[in-house]
């Protein structure tokens, strides 16, 4: 029974390994060329990078950096996500609020997050607080926009039902509107998660002396390119893994509705 279920599952969706093998060999040409370039042209070969990677894993600096970067990114994502959902529901539920706030939102939104780095640095100093604060606008806006449009597009029949059931504003939001909008909100959440990681790393590269971004910058300044490349590659893996995990969650949590949104 269990075996049959597993066989069924594999038949439906081939595992990661088999997909990797089934991949075209031609895809390996460009990475191999890059590797050859690294070996021949650059002073730092793949062997040195591997040694440096081993070293940063062993002395724990990679782990510390990863925890610091992901901690800030996820912290910002959690706080910004909540603010974004609340504002999105407020704007989506009431057309009046949405129209009244339009000019304010549209004047704040284009301000690049990098521009407020000096202010936040002076306000909070180094550390998690400044990084999380910088992540906030980047995470609030995508979620706000997706939530607003999803809430505004709630099936009118559902709203009739909620009226029939005599639900209040809070009940209507929590029981009808947000659950119906959740697949779309998650699409915004995925965009925000990617942005949160990017802003966290950016902040660390530019000013904040913690996390993986700072590790890259410090290695560069210490003339230790091997560690720098090791951390850059690790960041790529984290970014890829984060996105893969969120896409998987979306499919898993929302089924067909999520799969539709996953294309965006």
């Amino acid at each position: 029974m269990a075996d049959a279920a597993i066989a069924g599952a594999t038949r439906r969706r081939p595992g990661f390994a088999s997909r990797l093998v089934r991949r075209d060999w031609r895809g390996a040409v460009a990475p191999l060329l890059l590797l050859a370039f690294v070996e021949i042209v650059m002073d730092t070969g793949s062997y040195q990078i591997a040694v440096a990677a081993y070293r940063v894993v062993l002395d724990g600096s990679l782990l510390t950096g990863t925890i610091e970067t992901l901690g800030a990114a996820l912290g910002g994502l959690a706080i910004g996500g909540m603010i974004g959902v609340v504002l999105g529901v407020l704007f989506g539920m009431s057309r009046a609020v949405d129209r009244l706030m339009m000019v304010t939102v549209e004047s704040i939104r284009p301000i690049p997050s990098a521009a407020i780095i000096p202010v936040v640095l002076l306000a909070f100093g180094f550390g998690y607080r400044m990084e999380i604060f910088l992540i906030l606008p980047g995470t609030i806006f995508p979620i706000l926009i997706f939530t607003r449009s999803a809430v505004a597009g709630t099936e009118p029949c559902l709203l009739d039902v909620s009226r029939l059931m005599g639900l209040g504003y809070i009940g209507r939001v929590l029981k009808i509107v947000v659950p119906a909008a959740l697949p779309r909100i998650f699409v915004g959440f995925r965009l925000s998660a990617a942005l949160a990681l990017v802003i966290a790393v950016t902040t660390e590269v530019v000013v904040n002396p913690q996390g993986l971004g700072s590790a890259i910058m410090v290695s560069e300044q210490k003339l230790d390119p091997a560690s720098m490349y090791a951390v850059v590659i690790w960041l790529g893996i984290i970014g890829w893994g984060l996105n893969a995990a969120l896409v998987w969650m979306q499919r898993r949590l929302f089924g067909p509705a999520g799969a539709r949104g996953a294309e965006q």
């Binding site: 284009p110 690049p112 640095l121 002076l122 590269v205 970014g239």
Partner: protein
Amino acid sequence: MRPLRLLWWLASVAVAAGFVGLWQVAADSKWLSPVFFAGPGQAWDRLVAGLVHGTLGIELADTVGRMIYGWAAASLLGIALGSLIGISPRARAYLAPMIEFVRPVPASALVPVAIGFLGLSDEMVLAVVVFGGLWPMLLATIHGFETIEPRLTDVSRALGFSRLQVILKIALPSALPDIFAALRLSVTVSLVLTIIGEMLASRDGLGQWILFAGRTFRPGDLFAGIILLGGVGFVSASLIAWLEQRLLNWRRPP
């Protein structure tokens, strides 16, 4: 319908003005330390003073020039590479996995790498801007090619189009909506990366200017720079939206 919309817009402006007023009150009452927080009045004074008497105009021109240059290069490269991958399954087989592999690396993480190769130079800033701005355009072009109406492909085959003709006459026009969305996205990315590049490489421009204003505790100048950068973001996005509306008029149902 029209006057009503204008009325809503005016009300919305009034709300925004209310927030600016609140900002002024917050600055006047020193809720936040005046070391880093300037009110709108002070920021505006510094903005005008910097533009009229100071070098703010030159800094602005430097930043905008860098942004547009990097953005244009990234967009052209993205369209070219995207067309190549979109039209040729062979190119896709060779290049797509590599792209999947490089894409998740945040562009800002590559600033130190770029510094290693190019030093603290304008070319370094430009390289980072191009790298970051490339992705939206590349993905949008590939996506646009994937969603070409199949009948159009048949037509192009019937007319005996060459590959270049297919790209220029069928694929790119039908990918235009995706491309415009990407243009807007990548102009934002370009601006952020330009600012960061200027901060890290100490090139003249608004990024370095606001960082310096912060370090020397001149909040008026700092906020003037932020307002200016917000303005650059707003104007560039609006210009692209306006262009999109004009060029894609034919796509909208009447």
